[in-house]
């Protein structure tokens, strides 16, 4: 009985092996054959897709670059006036820039804006990162309700609270509520509401690192700035950039808080430059306005170009497996 059985078994085993081999061959032919066919089709579709994509992108690029180019060119136009019949100026000049710094308080405004932007940028970045880290790592009772409440509050546009902010400032700084200090307060005090993106990033930094640091004797703060922050360069850069740009470009709050201030020297660039575009001034100041706009855009562009490499850099490699 057993001998027959063995023979039967070995035969079936051999057959099974052959079947597997047959499946292998089939699989190989399946993966090869359509590949050849597909390649031809793929090539056409890829080319078609690429071309259409490139065309659409080029058109969009032109649309986007046009206003910037127009602004740059207008800043070098010699003839005054807001409306010019030609796209390129008839005569090129640097006078607009010279006038900007010599005859207008632009430099003063620029300094004001820089001061406000840098101060509120620092405060905002510290607020946002600390709040995000706390929400990401600490477990406390009010954590979830607080996160939800902050998220909902952050959804309302800031300028809705403008009049309330104005009265609050009046109480807080009764003597000089129309000052750069109040601007810094306004821009940075609500900053923590924007914790969400940074928290999401901190969540991706493995908690095991925090635990390892905790066992190594590091305090919460030391863990934060020695371990987590260096690993979160990109989100730190992102936070700094966004918190610099918003006060740098803001018009709404500054126009409201500084409304009726007779001293032009207190203005920021956006407020001062907007005044140039009022009907009675636009004819004479338009080209200067363009020059000023170029100067305003420069630092942000430079900042972005300098920091953009951190945006894409992956920094967590080798921390943990997987």
């Amino acid at each position: 009985m057993s001998e027959n059985n063995i023979k039967a078994k070995t035969l079936t085993d051999a057959q099974m092996g052959d079947k597997w081999r047959a499946i292998d061959k089939m699989e190989a032919s399946l993966t090869q054959m359509p590949k050849k066919k597909r390649r031809g089709g793929m090539k056409f579709w890829r080319l078609f897709g690429d071309t259409t994509g490139q065309i659409v992108l080029t058109i969009l690029g032109i649309i986007w670059i046009f206003p910037l180019l127009y602004l740059l060119i207008q800043s070098f136009r010699k003839e005054p006036g807001a409306f010019s019949p030609t796209f390129f100026p008839r005569e090129w000049t640097f006078d607009n820039y010279i006038r900007l710094f010599r005859d207008t308080p632009f430099l003063r405004w620029y300094g004001n804006t820089l001061l406000v932007a840098v101060c509120s940028c620092c405060i905002t970045a510290i607020f946002v990162l600390s709040v995000a880290y706390a929400f990401s790592r600490m477990k406390f009772k009010a954590r979830k309700p607080m996160m939800n409440a902050m998220l909902v509050m952050g959804m309302f546009p800031g300028f809705m609270s403008m009049s309330a902010v104005y009265f609050l400032l009046k109480i807080l700084l009764p003597d000089n509520y129309q000052s750069l200090l109040s601007l810094i307060i306004v821009y940075s005090s609500g900053a923590a509401l924007g914790y969400y993106i940074a928290k999401g990033f901190f969540d991706t930094v493995p908690k095991a690192l925090d635990e390892a640091a905790r066992i190594d004797g590091a305090s919460r703060f030391r863990t934060f700035y020695k371990i987590v922050l260096p690993l979160s360069k990109s989100i730190v850069i992102y936070t700094i950039l966004t918190s610099f740009i918003s006060p740098w470009c803001d018009y709404i709050f500054v126009s409201y808080i500084m409304a009726g201030v007779p001293d032009v020297g207190m203005y920021t660039v956006s407020l001062g430059m907007y005044k140039w575009l009022e009907l009675e001034q636009i004819q004479q100041n338009f080209t200067t306005f363009c020059a000023a706009a170029v100067i305003v855009a420069t630092p942000i562009t430079l900042l972005f170009m300098w920091l953009q490499k951190y945006y894409v850099e992956g920094v967590t490699g080798g921390a943990v497996k997987g």
Binding site: S2, L209, A212, I215, D216, G217, A319, V320
Partner: protein
């Protein structure tokens, strides 16, 4: 340099999910402890509680005699190696290893010395300037070990450190970690789900399942004497064979009849540790035998009296070179019967083919029997109970022709013949008393000696501390502690000396800022010690006042004194003696305290009013809502 003590450790998540249940263990200095179990069994949670990364819900953790429940991880003098390495990716290997020392502001030259020494031990000197990204998995894990070494901790905690490495590397690193343990001479606690790692590395192994400790023992003892089916199945590859069946005892012969149709027979002397009550031919048991404790019968064997024989039909043969593993079935008629599947490990001299019918022999010394309901071993190395048939008449118990007087505490209404007497093994003491027995077997179990006594044919066990004092064949006297015996048929119960009283924890204001706390039970208020208050608040916070509690304490924690109205008493319950049980050497009084029964040792009369002073430090306090021991 460090001993650890875990006392009734519990971990409860979100109020009711118990991750770790009543973990008790003492770890000696320089031990290599391995926590092993399937994933989700609570082993990592326990390790993290030792590390201080998880809060301990209830229980006490001591390192070197000092309670560290609320001590920060860095101050516990421990180091931990994580499963996924947890290296700081932006720092070089050197900086990674130096981080803890820099945080502790150790001088630079000492840091350098320690880091280079650790790197030397681990063979990573040439990588010190590299970032973790540029290292292989094995190297990264060594850096993680190095980071732990430089701190010179008292306890090393390793959380599945090898599970991310490939098999070959794992085997190599296993022996290296063992060597590191010897080299450093510190206590190691190692978590793994791999039983090979556990068996090869640990001096003692803790097997866990679903948050419960299944067994704590040395690798060899776990293998030889598993406490339950889970441990038996978890340790050893291929897995232990299990068969359902019943046991029959006829005279000196014991027959194991398995559900698949097979049967083994053997002399009672091989099965004397199995309680006789399982040998009625009805109680379902699980018979377990390891593949390596089976063999194919050979005609020339000289030791066949140690083996029981049965037939099996082979279905698959796996030749591994040094050994052959046979997958067979004990049900020769129906080889597809799943209940009869058996795995046999044998040496490769036997040429067997699928379909062959072979004679399989089971070692009579190395088989296991488990209760089917509880899955617990009923053939333990140290039996828990002595179960014998006795006659009861005229206030004497006749046990195998020996007489024992029944104390007045036990009331026997009628005489009975041949009833089953159950007593814990600790109730039988040899070397005193009047009854006589002959020593039938002596077995040393660690620092204790287990004696098997032959009392005119009945087998009884007794456990004694220390080295063997008697030899096989010696005649000894023995005595039975009547407080502990139970005869179900006559209504004789062992004396319950544990008082278990439900109550609560209350407070009252004594001044504007001060409160006095009370353990309220049986209508009385006892003043707790500071330690108790700390533990209760530490576990439950102010919710403790709303939590129903259970207080339990042994009669020996109670001091009973006569009480007269107006007497000054300390921490005491007042009660009236309802009954007194006289066991001869000790008398227990049952008192009624506002409707609750409290037992205490007392020499007096029924009707006396007593002040029962309770030693509060011997009270165990349980949270009744989730059933965890807080104190």
């Amino acid at each position: 340099m460090a001993s650890l003590s875990l006392k009734h450790i519990f971990k409860v998540y979100d109020g009711n999910v118990k991750a770790v249940n009543d973990f008790c263990m003492d770890i000696e200095d320089k031990e290599f402890i391995v926590f092993v179990g399937p994933s989700g069994c609570g082993k990592s949670t326990t390790l993290r509680m030792i590390a201080g990364l998880e809060e301990i819900t209830a229980g006490e953790l001591q390192i070197d005699g000092e309670i560290v429940n609320d001590v920060e991880p860095k101050d516990r003098n421990i180091a931990m190696v994580f499963q996924n390495y947890a290296l700081y990716p932006h720092m070089s290997v050197y900086e990674n290893m130096a981080f803890a020392l820099r945080t502790a502001r150790v001088p630079k030259d000492i840091i350098h010395e320690k880091v280079t020494e650790a790197a030397e031990i681990l063979g990573i000197t040439e990588y010190l300037e590299r970032k973790p990204k540029a290292l292989s998995g094995g190297q990264r894990q060594r850096v993680a070990l190095g980071r732990a070494i430089v701190r010179q901790p008292k306890v090393f905690l390793l959380d599945e450190p090898l599970s991310n490495l490939d098999a070959k590397l794992r085997a190599a690193m296993r022996s290296e970690i063992s060597r590191l343990h010897q080299r450093l001479g510190t206590t190691f606690i190692y978590v793994t789900h791999d039983q090979v790692e556990a068996m090869t590395m640990g001096t003692r192994i803790v097997v866990m399942r679903d948050g419960f400790v299944q067994q704590i023992d040395s690798p060899m003892n776990l293998y030889r004497y598993p406490d339950n089916m889970f441990v038996a199945g978890f340790i050893g590859t291929p897995q232990m064979n299990f068969f359902e069946g019943v046991i029959n005892k006829r005279g000196d012969e014991v027959r194991f009849s398995l559900d698949c149709g097979a049967a083994f027979e053997m002399n009672y002397s091989f099965a004397e540790k199995i309680p006789v009550k399982y040998m009625d031919g009805k109680s379902k048991v699980i018979f377990g035998v390891r593949p390596e404790d089976l063999r194919i019968a050979r005609p020339d064997a000289t030791d066949s009296h140690l083996w029981s024989r049965t037939k099996a039909v082979v279905s698959v043969v796996e030749v591994l070179g040094n050994e052959v593993i046979l997958y067979a079935n004990l049900n020769v008629q129906n080889p597809d019967d799943k209940t009869g599947a058996i795995t046999v490990k044998t040496d490769p001299d036997f040429i067997v083919h699928p379909g062959d019918v072979i004679d399989v022999e089971v070692s009579r010394r190395k088989f296991h029997v488990f209760d089917k309901e509880t899955e617990k071993s009923i053939k333990k190395r140290i039996p828990e109970q002595n179960i014998v048939n006795v006659d009861i008449a005229n206030n004497t118990i006749r046990l195998a022709e020996q007489s024992f007087a029944i104390p007045s505490a036990i009331v026997v209404e009628s005489s009975r013949q041949n009833v089953e007497l159950v007593m814990p093994i600790s109730a039988l003491t040899i070397g005193r008393g009047t009854a006589k027995a002959r020593i039938h077997g002596v077995e040393q179990v660690e620092d204790k000696t287990l004696y098997t006594l032959d009392v005119n044919g009945s087998i009884l066990f007794s456990l004694k501390d220390g080295e063997p004092e008697y030899g096989v064949g010696d005649d000894v006297s023995f005595d039975i502690d009547m407080c502990k015996i139970a005869v179900a048929d006559c209504g004789i119960d062992p004396m319950n000396t544990v008082n278990s009283i439900d109550g609560e924890f209350t407070k009252s204001k004594i001044s504007r800022k001060e409160y006095q706390f009370y353990m309220q039970m049986a209508g009385h208020k006892l003043v707790p010690s500071v330690r108790i208050c700390e533990k209760l608040f530490g576990c439950k916070g102010t919710r403790i006042f709303k939590t129903p509690l259970n207080y339990s304490f042994d009669a020996c924690a109670v001091t009973a004194k006569p009480y007269n109205e107006g007497d000054e008493v300390g921490n005491a319950l007042i009660g009236k003696v309802v009954s007194i049980k006289d066991y001869g050497h000790v008398k227990y009084a049952t008192c009624d305290c506002n409707g609750t029964q409290v037992v205490a040792a007392y020499e007096g009369q029924v009707g006396d009013t007593l002040a029962l002073e309770v030693n509060v430090d011997m009270v165990t306090i349980k949270d009744k809502t989730i059933d965890i021991i807080i104190v």
